[in-house]
Structure formats: structure tokens, C-alpha cells
Amino acid sequence: MDDDFTTTTTTTTTNGSSIDESDDSTNVMKNNDNNNGLYRKMTVQIVADKSALHCKNGCGFYGNREWDGYCSICYKEIRHQQQQQHQQQTCMAQIDDYSVSSLPPIPSLTLSSSSSSPPTSSQPTTTSSSSFSIKFEEKKRQQSDKNRIKSIFKRASTFREYRSSSAASQQYSNKNSNNNNSNNNNNVQENNSWPFFSLERPFEEVLAKFYPDYALRDINVNVTKCVEKVNKLLNRGSSIEDLTEIIHDFYSTMENRFQTSPHYKDVNSVQFSQLIDQTEKILMNKLYTNLFARVQNEEEERDLELQKKIRNLNWIMSNHLDIEINLRHPKVKDLMDQAITEISEVDSKQIPFEKLDAIVRCSKTIFEMLQIDNNAAISADQFLPALVFVIINANPPLLQSNIKFITRFSTPSRLMTGEAGYYFTNLCCATTFIEKISGESLNMSESDFQSYMNGEAQPPGYYKQSFLCEPFRIMNSNHTILSDTIKRNAQWLENLDYLEKRMERFEQILENKCRTAINSSKEMIAQHLTYKIFDQAGDVDPSLFPASFRESYRKYCEQKKEQENILIEIETSNLTMNGSNDMDHNNVCDQLASIDFNYNNSNSNDSNEQTSVMMINNSNNELLEKFSNSSCPESIISLSSSSTTTNNQINNSSETKE
């Protein structure tokens, strides 16, 4: 530490940020953390003025420029104070922002009430004591009642502000659209106005690509009008039917507009549906919280009723619905969980078509689940019961409210046609089925059904299902993996055995072939080999020798003129069968050894010439004696040419045998 104080340091500014400039707290902290690393890059400056080394606070310790000239302790304190001040300021600023921009407080309130309730009730395995849950529901309802009353009051007070702000934003966007840099201005506007605007941004960007001016302005104007109208009605407390009518009116006018208005005449069908989607998106971004709160209020009783019913139905197994869902199968279980997640996601989405998307995804997952161990196409006969089963297992939050919201406020054509419409209808069917579920619809007597519902009895085989808790499931899946591994292991071993046998057989076959080949080649060698023995130097014609030998032969002749016989090397390498087949080679060598192949390196003084004597017992016993007696083993056996031919013949014969 002392070193830090005695020397004031500056960085060599390799990364462009010197410590002197680092007023930013994070920067300083970072530099502190990286002290060790930085010191390597620092140049040390000796500062003449000693007073500058001390802490600015005058505490007597040495200061450091890294800590703004304070010592470490004083710096920490000052830093802490500054941070606190900063926090307070930002808090104040936020409060100011809210009051200025007149953020309507209704949405946030109602949103919190609607979003906080689902998770507690969405537990798929809520078998807990019912008395607690009833109390909880009562409390929840009271709370939401309070909220409702509050929100009604607040709505009245804030509506004017809310309207004026939306009108202002509309004017603003009108101005913007004349501006070329509308995007930049939108940014500013979004930051200042209420947070809904940030949700529109992606669409505005998309739109700006196609229709820089008109569509953006047009949709905004129309949406704002519709929002105003709906809010007016909401304020008056009109029925959902009236609201639905207005919104459906809005959708159809917009659709007409996109189809007939000359400004949209270049729009193709893809862009057309995109425009409709995005209109719905913008509208629902602005209205979702209010509308959904209204729907939720109306449907609250039915939501709770359904939830309670589903909870009581937790004993239902797939065989009650005549479908095969083997939850012990790990893949099925995974897909089941996925479907449950997706159906529960419906509540968290805001735009009707996003909700529908979640339903479609869930349905697709269910199809995938049913497809396992089933090759035939899945029909509605299997799908609908499976969907019922998934819903009972998932107990999705606010299901009735969501269904009603989608039917009321989605673009009507979407619900009547297309995949989304179909799956949504199936969801409605499944929900209706659950609502009206009875012993008859599950093929059991009414008394049985009632006792199951009351929890007095459990259906046969239920305990099996109850084993499907998480550890058992994992054990099960591990078990399947293990058995699979064992099976594969056995297969490997089998394969190994088979291969070994094949190898053995191959070896035998090869050996047999080689033997026959060698036997036949032996005969051929005997037939083809002709030996020429050159007793006298005069018999040798040096011109027949290979060029490399001629020189050595000449020397050899000069050196040993007195010697009678000359033996010229046999190119033994020609005898090896090209090295490719060791077995062949070995066998041949064995064979050749058995006919007594002798190397005689008597001419060790001349390393160039490896002379050897080949004595073949079988064919030329006399020669052997003759050579050994003469004590001059150097006699030429010109074998090189004939040995190559035999070599080829051996190869050929082994090939034909194969």
C-alpha cells in the first residue's frame, strides 16, 4: 500500500482511458480491481511537490490520484455519499416525470391484480387443503373488488388527462409524419410519453419501410379514435357487447380501408394481413389492460368455478378419456410439460393473436406427444381428449376470461377460419366439456364420479399415477436409458463375436490359399529355375551385367584373378513378395528356408557385393558337395531373371485361387 502513496501514477493510455479522466464511479472501481494488471503498463512519475501526495481531506494519510487525490478510506466515504445523493435525485426526477406525463395509474393497478393472482392458482398439482384455497380466493376477490372500485374512481379522474395526452401524442405524430426524421422524433416522444408507445416501436419501424408517411399516421389516428371511444364507453360502464361491437366495427373499417383506400392499393396479400395484425397489436397494446380487466371482472365467477373443478378433477387419468398417454415415457412426459407451459402462457400474452399463437403451439405439441409410438395420423378423436387432459393437468390461469377476451376482441375472421380458429374452437370445446363433466361422460357411475370428485375415493390404478412424482420420473427415465445402454452393449458384444469369427475364418482361408499357392509355386520354381554356373571368368559376358555391377565386377576380377569361380549376388529382395502380404512372405520364406537357403557373406571385405550361395538340396545335392569341397563358394548363380518370373507366377496363382 505504501508504494501506492509514494508514487503517483498515470497510465500509458494504451486503451485510451486514463485514470485522470475517470470521474465515472464504475470506471474507478474497475481500475481499482485491475490495479495489479495496470501497474505493469504504468509509467512512474516522480512528483516533486510532496504536499500533493497527501490526502485531500487532510487526514494525514497519503492520497492517490486513482481515488481523486483522497486516501482510500476518505474516498470510500465520499463515494458512498455521492451515490446516495444520486439515488435520491433520480427518485425525485422519476416522480416528477410521472406527474408531468400523467401516466394513467389504472392499467398498472389492474395489471398487477390480474397478473399476481394467476401463479398462485395455476399450480397443476394443487391437492392442498381446500379450506385454505377458498379463504385465499375470497381474499383475492375482495382485493380485486377494492381494486375495481379504486380503478373506477381513478378512471374518472384520470380519463381527461389520459385523453389529452393521447390527443397530444396524436398531434405530435401528425407533425412527425411531415418530418423526414420521424423515427428520431418518435424516440424522443416515446421517452416522454407513457410506456405503451415503446411497444409500438417495432411495428412503426416495419411500417416506415413500406409506407413512410401515410400508413403510420393513418393507423395511429384511427387507433386513437377507437381507443377514445372505447375508453368513453368503459367509463360509462357499458356492456362488453357494446365494446365488442365497436372493436369489431373498427376492425372491419380498417380492413375495408386497407382494401379499398387508394393509399393502400400497392399492398399485397401478405402485407395486408400484416397490416391487420399490426393494427390489432397497436389497438390491443393500448386497450388490453382495461378491456381484460373488464372481461376478467365479468368472468371471475366462472374462472374460479372452473379452477375449482379442475382441481377436483386431479384424479383423472388418460384412460378415463380413452386415450393413450404414457407419462412414464420420458419423451411423452417432456412434451406434456411443454404443452402445459404453453397453455399457461396464453394468459401472459396481451394481443389476441398472440394468445391464439400460444394455443396453436400447445396443440402442435399435443400432436407431437400423441405421435410418439403411433404411426397413424392423429385425428380429432384423439386430439380433443388429449387437450382436455392437458388442460386438467395444467389448470391454466383465467382460462374463461382469456377465451372470452379472444372471442370478443380478436379479428373475427381469424376465429372463423384457419388453424388458429380450429384450435381455439377445440380449446372452447375442451373447456365446455370440463365444465359439464359428469360420470356419464367419463364412462363411470355417477356415485363413483362424485366420490372421486369429493376426494373420498380414488379410481383404481390411481396410486400408480401418483408414483409419477419427479424423483420417480427421473428414476424411470434413467432406467430406460440404462436398459437401452445394456441392450446396445449386448449388441456390441454380439457384433464383436461375429467379427472375431469372421477374422478367424479369413485367417484360415488365407492360410490354405497360401499353402496351395506355395505348393504349386514350388513345382513351378523347380520347373523354371535353371542354374548356370560360371566356373571360369572367361565364361562371363560382362555386357550382360547391370551397369552398376560392371565396375565392381571388373575390380573384383582384377583383385581375385587367381580365383576360379565367381558368384554373383542373387537379388534376394526380388524374392520377397512385394511386402504386402506378410503371411505370404513368411510362408514363402519358410518354404524357401526349408529348401535350405544359405547366405554366405564370405566377401565381407567387399561391401558392395553381397555374394551368396544358394544351395538347393532337393534339386542339386551334388552341387552342394562340390561347392563345399572347393572352398571357393563364389560361383555365380544367376537367379535374378528367373526369380522375378517365379515371383510373378506365385502372385498370379494366389490371385486366381482367391
Binding site: T244, S269, L384, F433
Partner: protein, 224 residues
Amino acid sequence: MATAISNQKSGQQQFKIVLLGEGCVGKTSLVLRYVENKFSETNQSTLQASFLTKNIFVQNIPITLNIWDTAGQERFHAVGPLYYRDSNGALLVYDVTDPDSLTKVKVWIKELRKVLGNDVCIAIIGNKIDLLSGIERDQMNNALISEAQSYATTAGATHYCTSAKTNYGIDDVFLNLTKQMISFSQTQQLNPRALNSTVTRGISIAADNELNDPNDLQSKRKCC
């Protein structure tokens, strides 16, 4: 009420056809045979057969058929109306070897007429005629089929015999039904008011939407 959804931008007309029939009468194989020309014995790849679309040209009009399969089990009978509301056509399938399936068809037709009135084109289909034998097979007729035919005439429906296995008569069913639906929607477009008055409101939200046209103009006037 059951007007075809038409998208003027693409000129595409969409019809919704609902497929009704007891379990195991071959609804799924019938529609799979039509849409993908597959029979379940060879079918491996199709993930689902409950919602299928088919694009066809009839009388030079591009048509999209949305074919909705329904769960045929008795326990789901009560939710039927949810399926077939807003549908333009209905295919009621029975098994020519199973008299019970025809009685179910009769029940459905009554319900369809009750909910949708005369707005829906109904075709009754006797499936699995490949299972008939002897003279019945040669004449494509037996007691059940003739009963169905006479019932069809009284109920204002058309009757067909098909076999999903041998791909007999299936294209005709869809083609004729589509033609019926086209002519029906054309007459409906000519005098929409008259038809709307005959339809009972309230069962479906689509009814609200249908009556929106006059309100539409008013609301436009109001807001502008």
C-alpha cells in the same frame, strides 16, 4: 351468417367444412385421402389430420377449403355446436356396414339444421363401400344405403358413396359440395338482408359481425 370469408386482396374465397361422424367410420382417412391422397396404411409422415386445408380451382375461382375434423365420441356430442357454427358445408360420414352410424348422422343433421338453418350445405357420405360383398358391392347399394339416400332427399342433403381405401368417389364429394357452397354464397351475396333476417342471432358472435355493415357506415359518420 355462414358467409364465406373472402379476401378481396388475394381474391381467395374460404369455406369451412366440418366433418361429422361417429368414431371409426373413417372420417380421418376420408379427408386424408382427399387432401394428401394417402391412406392410413401407408401414411407415416402426417402429424395430424384434424385440421386440413386444400386449395382448389372451381369454376375458375380459387377456393380454400378448411376442413375441420371433429371428435366423434358420444361424450363430446354436447360440444358439437361449437365446431359447426359458421361452417359453410358439412360432411356427415357413416359406415355402410354399421346401421348405428347412420342413426348418429340423422341426429347430427337435425342439430345442424337447428343451429345453422338452411345456411349449410350438407353431404351424407356412406364410407367403406369396399367392405360390401357380392351383389351389394356390384350395385353399390344395400338397405342401409337406400335408407340414407331417401333420408338425404328429405333433409335437403346430397348422398354419396365413397371408399377411402380404394379412393372411390371422394373427389366428387368435395367438388360437388364446393360448387353448392359457391352458388349458395353467391345467392347470399345478392340479397344479404333477406338471409340475415332468417338467421337467429346470438349463438355466435359472428352474427354480430354479420350485422355490422349498416352500423359500420353509421359509426364511420359519427367518428369522422
